[in-house]
């Protein structure tokens, strides 16, 4: 018997933490299915399966206990976040490539759970958007209603990828429109007035999905799974910069509301930037991390080459984590008056 003090332990476990994250995603997924169709469920299943299988394989190769690590739930969280950030009708192999890359390269080459410096789900997204930009920017066009079977057929390549499905997310559409520039006579308010695409205040349908993520995120915070610093800093930074530019030139920049409720902003603020493993851990570091991610996300989505910037923003901040944490160490007991 090997036991070490303390002999009392609180009732907590990694799998419980991960389960709570999954639970918190459920409202978002429900709204997603309700407004945008059930394809996302297929993707969630494909991603989870791919994640668990690749994790099992690599655990075996590394001679680690399978059951213990497969049941920790972290691979499922990664898989779900991958599925939720990929286009719902992306071909199944795209999701699999992303997930396997995330689990094998981004996670297990660094030793697995808890040791990866980069957010695996975002690595998956980045790898796929860089490698397969066409497939990663095909979102179902608005008002496209397909049955579950049809959607499954598209995902599994049994049905041609009709052009009708090559819509763009609100962010992408806005960006494309802006690229045409002043000469095309399009200004942002006019564009956003289009209810069909932009719905009430962000992308049609998307705004409610984002709102549900917000709700789930708040629940996570209440449960103590995440702390307030990252989401608050992320949202504050995104709001600040988008408000500033919007006030400065409302014809070319969208409102902060639009930016908060479109794309991956809410998911990013509450579920992705908060990844404890790859994010900052000191309280002040978390503020810097969140603010940096929010700022970069805006810059990339508005001025950069990719329709949404959350993934790259988080990855770029991941790079800075060790240095940020180094400079943000909180003072320890009894040393508060000294810097």
């Amino acid at each position: 018997m090997f036991k070490s003090p303390p002999y009392l332990l609180q009732d907590a476990s990694v799998s419980r933490v991960m389960t709570q994250v999954c639970l918190a995603l459920v409202p978002g997924i429900a709204v997603y299915v309700w407004l945008l169709g059930p394809a996302i469920l297929i993707q969630l299943a494909v991603a989870s399966l791919a994640a668990l299988l690749s994790e099992a394989l690599i655990l075996r190769l590394r001679g680690k206990p399978l059951a213990l690590f497969l049941s920790d739930g972290s691979a499922v969280v990664t898989a779900w976040l991958i599925a939720l950030t990929f286009p719902p009708l992306a071909p199944w192999w795209l999701v699999v490539v992303g997930t396997v890359f995330a689990i094998v390269v981004a996670k297990h080459l660094y030793g697995g759970l808890g040791q990866n410096p980069f957010n695996p789900a975002m690595i998956a997204f980045a790898v796929c958007i860089v490698s397969f930009p066409a497939l990663m920017s095909q979102w179902p066009s608005q008002g496209l209603h397909l049955s579950l079977a049809e959607q499954a057929n598209i995902v599994f390549g049994l049905m041609p990828r009709v052009d009708a499905l090559a819509g763009a997310t609100p962010l992408d559409a806005l960006k494309t429109a802006l690229k045409l520039g002043a000469e095309s006579g399009i200004d942002v308010p006019a564009l956003l007035a289009n209810q069909d695409i932009y719905g009430n205040f962000a992308g049609r349908g998307w705004e409610w999905v984002a709102a549900a993520y917000l709700l789930g995120g708040l629940w996570l915070w209440l449960r103590g799974v995440i702390t307030w610093q990252v989401p608050v800093a992320f949202i504050a930074a995104l709001t600040a910069i988008s408000t500033a530019l919007w006030v400065y030139q409302p014809t070319s920049f969208a409102s902060p509301f639009f930016h908060l409720f479109s794309g991956g902003a809410m998911l990013g603020a509450f579920f992705i930037a908060t990844d404890p493993v790859s994010g900052c851990t000191t309280p002040r570091g978390k503020l810097v991390f969140g603010a940096g991610a929010g700022l970069l996300a805006y810059l990339i989505r508005v001025f950069g080459g990719y329709p949404d910037g959350v993934a790259f923003a988080v990855l770029i901040m991941n790079i800075c984590v060790p240095v940020i944490d180094l400079f943000c160490q909180p003072p320890i007991f009894g040393m508060k008056d000294k810097p």
């Binding site: 490698s131 397969f132 930009p133 066409a134 920017s137 095909q138 052009d163 090559a166 763009a168 494309t176 690229k179 045409l180 520039g181 080459g305």
Partner: protein
């Protein structure tokens, strides 16, 4: 090594400088020799390189002058999207103007400028267009380059071949999605829009200044 008594700094400096001098003289001489020896070959292959590009936009058979030597220096021309000086090549057949080969830039590609080489015949038809430099997204926007285009038989860029500019209205110079006559790959219309717009502007500019371009004194053979 000789452990002689330390020399003064200036003595050492002179000694080092001289040694280095000798080495430099020897090796520079060697290099200069090599340069002079390869110079003709390099110039030839540079010319050949240029001709290869020109050949892609303008068939050899359509002119009989030494095109690379019949050039005109063009100052920075906003109409061509150019903010630096370039060269216009003038093809003639039997001394008569045959075609102009010149550069143009589409400034509003998906990720920056797209450089084009355009050949416009004297009769107002487009002989061909080639992309010479771009940073469009690989796998998405790069089909404007025939090498990368999945459609090998009829690459996208070949749509410009033989277009009679006079018969087109400005409304036609658009991608189909915007109501024009040019195809574009679904999901990547920013790039073709930019190219089409740039070609249109370039062709208009050349057509308007045709006389001057053919006749202005440049380097003639």
């Amino acid at each position: 090594m000789t452990e002689a008594k330390p020399l003064s700094a200036s003595r050492i400096a002179v000694r080092t400088a001289l040694t280095l001098f000798v080495f430099v003289v020897v090796f520079t001489g060697f290099l200069a020799g090599a340069y002079l020896w390869t110079k003709p070959a390099i110039e030839a292959s540079a010319a050949e390189e240029k001709m290869k590009l020109v050949d892609e936009v303008l068939p050899r058979g359509e002119y009989d002058n030494r095109l690379l030597e019949d050039t005109l220096a063009l100052p920075p021309t906003p109409a061509l999207g150019l903010d630096e000086a370039t060269t216009v090549y003038r093809a003639r057949r039997g001394g008569q103007p045959a075609a102009l080969v010149f550069e143009a830039v589409a400034p509003d590609g998906y990720s920056g400028k797209i450089r084009l080489l355009v050949a416009l015949r004297a009769d107002g038809t487009v002989a061909g267009v080639r992309v010479t430099q771009h940073r469009e997204t690989p796998g998405l926007g790069d089909y404007i380059e025939p090498k990368k285009d999945k459609n090998k038989a009829r690459p996208w860029i070949s749509q410009f071949n033989g277009l009679a500019t006079a018969s087109l209205s400005p409304r036609d110079w658009k991608v189909k999605k915007d109501g024009g006559r040019f195809d574009a790959n679904a999901g990547a219309t920013v790039t073709p829009r930019a190219v089409v717009k740039a070609v249109f502007r370039a062709v208009e500019f050349a057509a308007a200044n045709q006389d001057a371009l053919y006749s202005r004194e440049g380097a003639r053979p």
